[in-house]
């Protein structure tokens, strides 16, 4: 358990003194050129601040631009306008300390579960026995013990998505970008994964941007929920969730929780 339970040592990376928050996204705008010469504005004037260790959920209707925003932060997509700053530095490409959990599992069919999880370590040339131990430990934590040497084609969609989660957690990322990572899981597994994600967050102090459709998921997990408007996406409002951590399953049924749910539904235009 050492690798995951041990808190991340605060690396003296020289950037520490800056008092700027971990991530600052300013006036992000994204226009896609369409085939017929016109443009589709997916994101408009989106600004967001992410503190170190904070977990922010991005909640919004389908097709509003949540994935696009996450891809811009990940450096997979170039913003048409605006700035992404991480630890005080403006970035415009993939960052070595980020990990992305895609909306699809994106596993390599020719690699076993364990080999898939080790892929980031191989790319970073950090594949050590310790890394392998950590990968095995993660497999156990997500409830896939015994499946280490299976191929993805032998797993269900939900199991594949959990493998993808392990792969994102295997290197010590400072920022987790998660795009509906638990969408393919059943309710029970999903709740287990919520608690797992929160416990890993508590131990490693990783910052998280978490995209979801699910209001209750967003509230249960987050320090703050950013509610997106319809396309072009911008942040309609922010809901600070002041439920205490560690979150407990019972909180899902408390009055505060319901109040947050109501507020989010109102912002999404589901209720008045």
């Amino acid at each position: 358990m050492t690798a995951i339970t041990g808190t991340r040592e605060q690396a003296p990376d020289g950037l520490a003194p800056s008092s700027e928050p971990f991530g600052v996204f300013t006036d992000i705008e994204k226009r896609f050129a369409l085939g017929d010469g016109s443009y589709l504005t997916a994101i408009e004037k989106l600004s967001l601040t992410l503190e170190k260790g904070q977990l922010i959920s991005l909640l919004g209707p389908s097709g509003c631009g949540k994935t696009t925003f996450l891809r811009i932060v990940a450096g997979l997509e170039q913003a048409s306008m605006g700035e992404v700053r991480i630890e005080g530095k403006s970035i415009s490409g993939p960052h070595p300390d980020f990990a992305f959990v895609f909306q699809q599992p994106n596993l390599m069919p020719w690699r076993t579960v364990l080999e898939n999880i080790l892929f980031p370590l191989e790319i970073r040339r950090e594949k050590t026995p310790k890394g392998v131990d950590r990968a095995r430990e993660l497999v156990e934590l997500v409830g896939l013990a015994g499946f280490e040497d299976r191929y993805p084609s032998e797993l269900s969609g939900g199991m594949q998505q959990r493998v993808a989660l392990c792969r994102a957690l295997v290197h010590d990322a400072k920022l987790l970008l998660m795009d509906e990572p638990f969408g393919a899981l059943d309710e029970l597994k999903r709740m287990e994964m919520h608690d797992l994600l929160l416990s890993i967050r508590a131990r490693t102090n990783v910052s998280v941007l978490f995209v979801t459709h699910s209001i209750s998921e967003a509230i249960y997990l987050s320090d703050m929920v950013a509610v997106f408007s319809r396309r072009p996406a911008t942040i309609r409002d922010r809901i600070e969730i002041s439920l205490p951590y560690p979150r407990q399953g019972e909180m899902r049924y408390g009055a505060d929780f319901t109040r947050y749910e109501h507020e989010a539904s109102r912002l999404l235009g589901i209720v008045r």
Partner: protein, 255 residues
């Protein structure tokens, strides 16, 4: 799974038996001359009588096929890599490749014989020529068909171009490479036989031609059957290699 293996071996065998019996009945009932169409029993006895001859002629043809195939793989895959990695090369080379492929290999065979002589080199060259194209095209297609999600995963991890190539593109192209290789390896048999027809002193194609000119129908047919057996064996060998190199794809296509 067991059902599958069972059905896949039983049904072709039953089909084969029906054909052989009908063939035998036809040649016997209508008293067909063995020069025109020898009966299965004629062919069987010719095979037994000429067993060592057939064996002796199989070896050179097998060597031509295997080496021609090896050449096609060894040269074809690097060319496919070049084609898929550079738009410029793709634009330059692809039309030339297609033009080359459009030339009937049978028509080129006499010229190749002039260039390379009567020995094994000319057969290798023809076998190579016929096998080359499917390998290049399928490999290049496979290298360009890498799932976008996997490329993005690699990109998000800041993988180098080389890492993306050998850890992502190449393995995901393997099914395509093997599809091309399976087509190519059966084509090498055709290539080798064309070469032997045009000019040779040995090989199953040579034997077939000789037997035919001596009006020895049963032996010609025996050589023909050995050729097709050779083709199937080569196909089987590539299919086995496919299983070995792609253990994750369990009978995806089912051949």
């Amino acid at each position: 799974m067991t059902d599958n293996v069972y059905y896949r071996s039983v049904f072709p065998l039953v089909g084969l038996c029906v054909i052989v019996v009908a063939w035998q009945a036809y040649t016997t009932l209508f008293n067909v001359s063995s020069v025109v169409l020898p009966s299965p029993t004629d062919i069987f006895f010719a095979t037994c009588e000429n067993f060592t001859t057939l064996l002796r002629h199989t070896w050179p043809t097998l060597v031509e096929c295997v080496l021609g195939f090896a050449l096609a793989v060894g040269i074809g895959i690097p060319i496919a890599v070049a084609l898929s990695s550079s738009t410029l090369l793709n634009l330059t080379l692809y039309p030339i490749l297609i033009a080359m492929q459009s030339v009937p290999k049978v028509a080129v065979a006499p010229i190749i014989l002039v260039w390379f002589g009567l020995g094994i080199e000319s057969k290798l060259a023809i076998a190579f020529l016929v096998a080359f194209f499917p390998i290049v095209v399928d490999t290049a297609t496979g290298l360009n068909a890498t799932p976008k999600g996997l490329l993005e995963l690699a990109k998000s991890l800041r993988a180098t171009r080389w890492q993306i190539f050998y850890k992502v593109q190449l393995p995901s192209a393997l099914p395509f490479v093997f599809a091309g290789a399976k087509v190519a390896v059966t084509l090498t048999v055709i290539g080798a036989v064309i070469g032997e027809f045009v000019g040779s002193s040995e090989g199953l194609g040579n034997l077939l031609l000789t037997a035919n000119s001596q009006l020895n129908g049963p032996l010609a047919w025996a050589a023909l059957i050995w050729l097709s057996a050779l083709g199937m064996a080569l196909f089987g060998a590539v299919a086995l290699a496919e299983r070995f190199f792609m253990p994750w794809a369990k009978d995806g296509s089912g051949h």
